[in-house]
Symmetry: C2
Subunit: 280 residues, 2 copies
Amino acid sequence: MHPLDPQQAAARTWFESLRTRICAVFEGIEREAGSDAAFDYLSWDRVDPSGEPGGGGVRGVMKGRVFEKVGVNVSTVGGTFEGDFARSIHGAGENPAFFATGISLVAHMANPHVPAVHMNCRYLVTTKRWFGGGADLNPPLPVAEDTADFHATLQRVCDAHDAEYYPKFKAWADAYFWLPHRQVHRGVGGIFFDHLESGFDADFAFVRDVGEAFVDAYPRIVRRRMHDPFDEADIAAMRAWRGRYAEFNLVYDRGTLFGLKTGGNIDAILMSLPPVATWD
Amino acid sequence: MHPLDPQQAAARTWFESLRTRICAVFEGIEREAGSDAAFDYLSWDRVDPSGEPGGGGVRGVMKGRVFEKVGVNVSTVGGTFEGDFARSIHGAGENPAFFATGISLVAHMANPHVPAVHMNCRYLVTTKRWFGGGADLNPPLPVAEDTADFHATLQRVCDAHDAEYYPKFKAWADAYFWLPHRQVHRGVGGIFFDHLESGFDADFAFVRDVGEAFVDAYPRIVRRRMHDPFDEADIAAMRAWRGRYAEFNLVYDRGTLFGLKTGGNIDAILMSLPPVATWD
């Protein structure tokens, strides 16, 4: 992998610092619940198809009292896309060289009233350079107050950058987080964006604000809901709902496909899968 | 859907009668275990993209004491493949009209020592006409005796038809039931075959014998193993192993894809998914 240029290095550094902050906040929530659960980190290296070192990443997983299973991954990889896959990636059709750095997070919660969540931010370089990302809320048992809070927080940061962002990125999330075979959304939405290439500084500032919005909204929602009582029927509903989540990630998710196609670490890629899922 | 020609009707009738026999045998095993579990049947109709009736099927599911969850489906569908999908199907590139009839079975067992199993036989008509099918054994905790029994029974019927069948179809199963992202087979193999078009009578006779081999071997393996003691660690191992099975069916399985792409019944298509799966 080539040495990182200043933009690549800045994006990487910020994604890793966001990971560190998020993990600290999540571990703090575990303390509030009387648990000493902590993230377990595993570093992995990638070998490029060329045989050269191709970067790598760190997978973080915590299994706690509030967070039944949460994965927070960072990775910084680069090299050459293999075969046909290059043609499916923005700017890689003419030249399969690529660089990617990002953070990816999925939390499955012990209390069925606490929404599961997904967040991802990434910076990609091919013959183009762009940011992408998104965050969406996945409550097994949706509560309108939490959904409204999550969307309002995301809308606030979107609106501060571009009035068109929130409506556009919300609609993109609604289209993306959709299971056509069941004709249902996988959750209650959020934002999804890709190919943001209006200029590094402005786009990076937006992505940082999306990360901050996540750190603001999600822990608040968790703390609001983590002591709600629940019963066996709620657990059963959550596990059945998680079957839909697993279906989405294995059949449709582009991040999963990207990881599999670029030789990412399999445990890191599939950390998004729920700890327990059921199918009727 | 067009009225069935004699070959289509014969194949359909045989698949449905095999379903009826298998379900009776499986319910008999439940009786031996002191359970009164029975299959629950649900008929579904398919509407072709043309707007015409497009056939349908019957999904059978039993949740019992020995069979934690077993699905046995029959379907007979026809009409027009949509869009690009036609080009991926033998003989449908020039004309997207198709007919398909078949039986599909997946059993997930309560005792982790009893292998899960998959069996499928189908007759397809496009501008070509062929049989396909297969059966593979999926023990969470493999036992050499059961694996050998399953393979020997399949080999016996293969050898009775063509000495090349067993080695060829076993190798095909090994290549097909493989998770490249984990570099593991999903189970201990069996046979897989497709595009069998050496003549209707000979091929139909072979497919019937494959069905008979299944009815011979699998109940014997279940009865041999169903009273073996097991503990919580075995259950945990089984559920983690089922995660791999769900990954295979959602990411790679062509039968699942065929069902999703041809507007099959979603509950019938996904009956193959395990009742409970876990991911670390």
